[in-house]
């Protein structure tokens, strides 16, 4: 049967390596796709590149390529990835270097560029989903990238690239491109593009469709979660496909895992927008046709959007987080008193600016805004978070939290504090005609 086997080797920037190597080695794949960019990852990539012009790509690119490249070469599996993040050229050169060290001479690595549209963004650029302009943000812009689609990747695939490495490509388009390339789908065949986009959408988060991010003991049990395998899609020429995984890996592929991923980060199921198509998932059917094999049919598509989405990244200063724990009798009251003391010290005495939040972990942290805490707890952690562009403010906050060890309620222990650099992102739209993607081929 004429099907294409796609594997997902990463569904986010820090995804596991082992299951990707496993797929490269034993997956009998036509293509192995690594999806490694989120809105914030993109902005961090720009920051990295500003600090070092040879950086700005996915930090795990080297480890991933050292793990899979020889297997992919031996098995005739091509690689498509957005691990170039803010610097696809440097990423491609790193892959070439690794290929040479592995003795894979002649390996063709294409670097796809044109997603960086920082030059098209000015102070007056207006945001797409809320009022305001770039100037209103009041933070330093680090870079802006447009979501490119299959048109950006196809020329590199057609030129015979073994590895295609790009930056901001719409996640499903990474998977759709090989399908368009191999099946010869027309770029206005909206039904086929809608179906292929669904395959990409379901695959793009890796294990989120093979039992990862799914287990709820006693309700949704997942076998051997620690050994969970990455997914495989067997796509037919009509765009229908089967989601599966390697037999002896952990996890599971069921109609339930597929359905949860179907609407992950989707708003209107009738209108899932990508640069390639407006995909319609409203008529999708899923059926278990074997153990860990789910067939997916019935997606549709409509004409692609005229405008493309751009993510603009800004330097967001710092996030400071500090905590102290309280356990045993009256832990809840002692932690609550610690929270009161910290708030008073920071706002009344230190007059700190920035956004401050104090949580009691174990009582009510994640849902603090949503609902009142209920019940008691024997082990409560005070968690203080402050965001500021002024690092001195963050240091002051952490000092105050640590000082609770001697100056706060009884029995507090386990202080930890950390400072994390932050980025802020906003989105705008630009005309398709303003974008001109290109590729360059390097040979090992």
């Amino acid at each position: 049967m004429n099907t294409i086997r796609l594997g997902c080797g990463a569904g986010f920037s820090s995804d596991r390596l082992g299951p990707a190597v496993d797929l490269a080695q034993r997956g009998a794949l036509d293509y192995l796709v690594f999806e490694c960019i989120g809105e914030r990852t993109m902005a961090f990539g720009h920051r990295d590149r500003m600090l070092d012009t040879n950086r700005g790509y996915n930090p795990q690119l080297g480890a991933r390529m050292r793990g899979v490249l020889a297997h992919c070469h031996a098995n005739g599996t091509k690689i498509v990835t957005n691990m170039g993040v803010a610097n696809p050229r440097a990423a491609a050169l790193l892959v070439i270097d690794i290929a040479r060290k592995l003795g894979l001479h002649g390996l063709k690595v294409a670097c796809v560029e044109g997603d960086d549209v920082t030059h098209l963004i000015g102070p007056d650029t207006a945001f797409m989903d809320h009022p305001g302009t770039v100037a209103d943000v009041g933070l330093r812009m680090v870079g802006a990238n447009v979501y490119l689609g299959v048109e950006a990747l196809l020329p590199a695939l057609e030129a015979g690239a073994d590895v295609v490495i790009a930056g901001r490509i719409a996640d499903p388009s990474l998977f759709l491109s090989p399908l368009v390339h191999r099946f010869g789908w027309k770029l206005d065949d909206w039904t086929a593009l809608g179906r292929g986009t669904l395959a990409g959408h379901l695959m793009e988060c890796g294990m989120q469709i093979t039992g990862g991010y799914f287990a709820d003991p006693g309700f949704k049990d997942v076998p051997r979660l620690a050994d969970c395998g990455f997914p495989i899609a067997e796509v037919a020429a009509d765009g229908s496909f089967v989601i599966t995984k390697l037999d002896d890996t952990g996890g599971c592929v069921t109609t339930a895992t597929v359905k949860e991923q179907l609407l992950y980060e989707v708003h209107d199921p009738r209108a899932y927008l990508t640069p390639d198509v407006v995909a319609d998932f409203s008529g999708v059917s899923v059926s278990e046709i074997g153990h860990d094999r789910v067939q997916v049919t019935g997606a549709n598509g409509h004409k692609r959007p005229e405008q493309l989405k751009v993510t603009i990244g800004f330097d967001g200063g710092f996030l400071g987080e500090g905590g102290v724990s309280y356990a045993g009798p009256n832990a809840k009251a002692r932690a609550a008193l610690a929270a009161e003391v910290v708030r008073e010290r920071l706002t009344r005495i230190n007059r700190l600016g920035g956004d401050l939040r104090v949580d009691l972990v174990g009582l009510n942290a994640l849902h603090q805004t949503a609902e009142q805490p209920v019940g008691d707890a024997n082990d409560v952690r005070l968690h203080v978070a402050l965001r500021s562009t002024d690092r001195d403010d963050i240091d002051t906050m952490l000092w105050e939290v640590e000082s609770l060890l001697c100056c706060g309620p009884a029995g507090g222990g386990g202080y930890r504090g950390q400072i994390t650099p932050c980025v802020v992102t906003h989105s705008c739209l630009i005309d398709r005609s303003a974008v001109a993607p290109s590729f360059e081929m390097f040979v090992a």
């Binding site: 809105e39 991010y213 179907l262 949503a370 980025v423």
Partner: protein, 104 residues
Amino acid sequence: MTQRRIHDIAHARAGDKGNTSNVSVWAYDPKDYPLLKQQLTAERIANAFPKLFTGAVTRYEMDGLHGLNFVMLDALEGGVNTSLNLDSHGKSFSYLILGLPIEE
């Protein structure tokens, strides 16, 4: 008998885009889908957590797959960029909705 919760009849997953959260909720058993649909209206979600879900709540229905998709605007305390919630993506909002009691 203890009160049943949505968690007893359905599973869910949350996603985020900017300051917008979406939670899809799926009946385990197709027979429970009408009950799920009757229990989880957009109004109920909005009224249950007014301080968190400060914007409009829209419900999309996937009758063929026995699922509902809730889209909450201005629901992520500013979004992953500015939220000081430990869970700045609102990943745990799926279980916020699954924790709602079934009103019988």
